[in-house]
């Protein structure tokens, strides 16, 4: 339990020191310039990479000079190396001596069939370039080298997101590759306002991170803050956006997920259009969106694609599901072991009879079941797909049937656990669902010790925590806790698009207007007076219709 950590610190009463430095090989990081001698440069690179099989050093004579094309085979597109670079280099005259370095580089540049190439003089930059999948062309007697962009590595194609499923909506999800992800966003947001600021984080992984936002819409102070916090990060490696999330969020001991994350480009674009800022991490299909809020995590993309009255109802049930999944087991415990008067008499008697053979108090029973259920879920996630179904059947049999038969559990308990489990999966964000699952156990404990009083105490603590949470200057309960009327159009209810004229106040305040006013199709239709059109189309002027026509003409000038 992470919440225990501050308590532990408080108990220890010891402030932790600065902590150990990460030791990195200093020599390899040095920013020395390239040596004029080719063999020394090659030796240096060989030493830097050590005995790596995939380091390719191809020496070619060009214009009377010894040159070397160096790349890491597994990071570049071999086709491009063979077809475009090597072939064009080989066709260059080997014997003709060109003395002037500038002329030499111009000649080589002119012949190389590579789009992106730059000159570099720093050793470390060359090494980084090689690691990024570039090829370096070193020339004897020159302290400059050419870096050719020919990256090409294995990557997953764009697929449908696995965790954020939606019934209606695009079937595209982010992949691991940063460039792919950027292209997915660019394709949806065809505006030069879309900005990507990239930086590398991770001393060893050099993971590419991109801050993405819409210029002129996102708040510059938020972008600045994100930049500042990202630049501060000095870590060995970033393997997933979760690393960054933990280093960026403001309440690290809170169970609540404070940054939103999404796998769906469409959802991300919608967030960007609300003035939010995204952080893309190379190697992760999960994009972080900030500032996050609870309301955002209860929204599913379907809400906006499906018809609005339906979405409204569905979202209502989702919030209900959140409440049930947080409170149902603890309510059951409180009612059964403290407040029996609140159960209708026949139900109370029935529960009493069902609980007859159970040896434990209701709290213990519930905690056992809950823990068992959590284990079952975790097992279900980790298990290979083929065994997954078996486990669920076994779990259902063991828990649902045998436990009751054996007198270990009571039937109402099973119902409560099952209902809770189902309700907990209505929460669209996995991490929020996890947070609720985690909070459920202390709630059960409180209910078992203090009854309803305990539940309300627990709810108060959670509520106080939620209200105090803040995230890049935005309160976590945003349209609710600092009450913003406009925000309620998209909180529990979801009003039709034409009524949500404004962007969310806190993130979109630089440019509040989202759309033109008066897009309500009903109003439009009334203005066009379709009845009249229909009548002329049908052409059968019966008495009733002509009467209506006449009356209308009286009130309004004829077109």
């Amino acid at each position: 339990m992470p919440a225990l950590y501050p308590m532990w610190r408080w108990l220890r009463r010891r402030k932790k020191g600065g902590g150990g430095e990460i030791s990195l090989p200093k020599g390899r990081q040095s920013s020395q310039l390239l040596h004029p001698r080719l063999d020394i440069n090659i030796a240096y690179i060989k030493e830097a990479f050590g005995p790596s099989e995939d380091l390719v050093i191809r020496e070619i004579e060009l214009y009377g000079r010894q040159t070397a094309l160096i790349y890491i085979e597994t990071l570049v597109d071999r086709d491009v190396v063979q077809r475009d670079i090597l072939r064009s280099l080989i066709t260059l005259p080997a014997a003709t001596l060109v003395k002037d370095e500038a002329v030499l580089f111009r000649l080589i540049r002119a012949k190389l069939a590579v789009g992106d190439l730059e000159e570099e003089v720093l050793r470390s930059k060359v090494i980084n370039g090689l690691l990024d999948g570039k090829a370096a062309l070193l020339v004897e007697g020159s302290t400059r080298c050419l870096l050719l962009s020919i990256e090409g590595w294995e990557k997953r194609p764009v697929e449908e997101p696995v965790n954020e499923v939606s019934v209606r909506g695009p079937r595209e999800g982010f992949a691991e590759n940063l460039a792919t992800n950027i292209s997915l966003i660019r394709r949806r947001l065809r505006t030069p306002d879309l900005c990507f600021e990239t930086l590398n984080i991770g001393r060893r992984t050099h993971t590419k991170i991109a801050i993405c936002y819409l210029e002129g819409l996102a708040l510059p102070e938020i972008v600045e803050e994100v930049r500042r916090r990202l630049e501060r990060i000095d870590i060995d490696g970033v393997l997933e956006s979760g690393y960054l999330e933990e280093l960026l969020e403001e309440a690290p001991f809170s169970p609540m997920p404070q940054l939103n994350r999404t796998e769906r480009p469409d959802k991300l674009v919608a967030d960007l259009l609300e003035g939010k800022v995204a952080i893309l991490t190379d190697g992760t299909p999960f994009v972080l969106v900030l500032p996050g809020s609870l309301a955002d995590q209860m929204q599913a993309p379907d809400d906006y694609y499906e018809r609005w009255p339906l979405s409204m109802g569905v979202r209502l049930f989702r919030y209900l599901g959140l409440l049930i999944s947080l409170l149902l087991p603890s309510l059951y415990v409180a009612l059964v072991s403290f407040h029996q008067e609140m159960i209708p008499t026949p139900l109370a008697i029935s529960i009493a009879a069902q609980r007859e053979p159970v040896p434990y108090p209701a709290v213990v029973e519930t905690l056992i079941m809950q823990v068992l259920f959590e284990i079952l879920i975790e097992a279900g996630i980790r298990l290979p797909r083929a065994i997954g179904t078996t486990i669920s059947i076994v779990g259902a049999l063991v828990i649902g049937e045998a436990a009751v038969r054996a007198g270990l559990m009571s039937a109402p308990m099973i119902i409560v656990i099952a209902a809770t489990a189902i309700a907990s999966f209505t929460v669209p964000t996995f991490s929020l669902g996890q947070a609720v699952r985690l909070l459920r156990l202390p709630m059960i404990f409180l209910a078992g010790t203090l009854g309803l009083l305990g539940i309300f105490a627990g709810l108060m603590i959670i509520l106080i925590h939620l209200v105090s949470l803040r995230n890049f200057g935005q309160p976590y309960l945003t349209p609710l806790a600092p009450f913003i009327w406009e925000g309620h159009k998209d909180l529990i209810e979801r009003v039709p698009w034409w009524a949500m004229v404004r962007r969310p106040l806190l993130t979109g305040r630089r440019n509040l207007r989202r759309m033109a006013i008066g897009l309500n199709p009903a109003v439009n239709a009334r203005e066009r007076e379709p009845e009249e059109e229909l009548e002329t189309f049908l052409g059968n002027g019966n008495v009733k219709n002509s009467y209506r026509k006449g009356r209308k003409r009286k009130g309004r000038p004829k077109r």
Binding site: M7, W10, L11, R13, V336, S337, F338, Q340, E341, I343, T345, P346, A348, I349, S350, I351, A352, A353, Q354, R355, E356, V358, P361, A362, G448, T449, L450, G451, L453, G454
Partner: protein
Amino acid sequence: MGKRGKGFTRPLVLVAVVVAICAGGCWDRREINELSFFSSAAFDLEGQERVLTVEYIKPSPAGGGGEGGGRETLPQRQAIIDSEKGATFLEAGRQGALGMPRRAYLAHAAAILIGEEMARYGIKEVLEHIDRIPEFRRTTLILLTRGPARDEVIMAQSGLEKNLGREITGLHKWVQVSGYGFIPNVNHVFYDLSGEAGSTVLPVLELAPQPYPPLLGRGGTAGGTGGATAPKAETLLTARLNGAGLFYRDKLVAWLNAEQTRGWSWVRNKVKNAVLTLSDQNGSLVSLNITDSRAKTEVEYRDGLIRGNIKVKVEGNLLEEQGYQDFTKEEAVKYLEEQAAARIRAEITEALRAAQKAGTDVFGFAGALHRRYPKVWRQVENNWRDEFQRLPVTIEIEAKLRRTGMTGRPLKPGGGS
């Protein structure tokens, strides 16, 4: 030493706080399956001793599929009965704890019965008992019995419900459609007794035998399973309401029979539905179903004289006809309306006479007087009982026959038009 001691204080405080928080509620915890649910109870007086008879619900697994086959056709009362004596009811109740393996839980109490002797002595202490115990609810229904209530709790059986408490709750829901009965809860009684008139009416519960067909539903177990369950001609004693008792202050002073009870019920708006059987112009019988009844009690003070006035408006449908009267005709309807009004007037008059004789103003005249003429009320307040006994009351009834069921004219078998 001091430093070391300090290092231990904080964890200790923390542990103490956690333990205190947890232990704070634990003493209050009672598992639902460690309770015995109080369903109904009888409060009796026996000489100087108070007798408390309690019916507890015996929990039985609901549904679940029978384990030993089908031998559950005989109505089984799922209840445990405990009867104890003591100087007070609380003491009697605690005596019961000597033989009760579970904690008695009162919050689900459905009904309490008061024996005749107790009622004549005064129900104040019963009401106190209920009101002071936090678990008891004021919504508990309260009834009266002729003779000791204990017998009824012990002997009640039911074909449908599993215990007397549930049976009474069911009666409470449905009895008002006849007009002959009603069941107040404890709160109503408190309200009545603390009102101006200081009197109340409690319904009388009695056990009525019903012949039970011995072989019904038993699948012909002629030479069957065992002698112990051999079919026997049994008599079920099911609870039913019959009449009411009139209370002055907290003492029972007179009984009302069923008709008088309905007469009172008209005035106090306790009738939801009622059936009036009347004769039409030809002398054959007709039944009206009263669908709506509204009554008002008023008081008028003129020339130093207080007059009471009862206004009742009823509406009804014709639901059964034995003769051949055509009720699409206006005169027939008029005639029937008059008959209905006369019948209701008679019932009310009867009830009024009984109440005036007993001197219990259960019609609400005292309240009406207090509201309308507070000064006059203050004058007569102290001898309101006498005033009520000679209060002249006029009764106005307005009966309306709205519909004649699904059909207009009566069925004439074999007849043409």
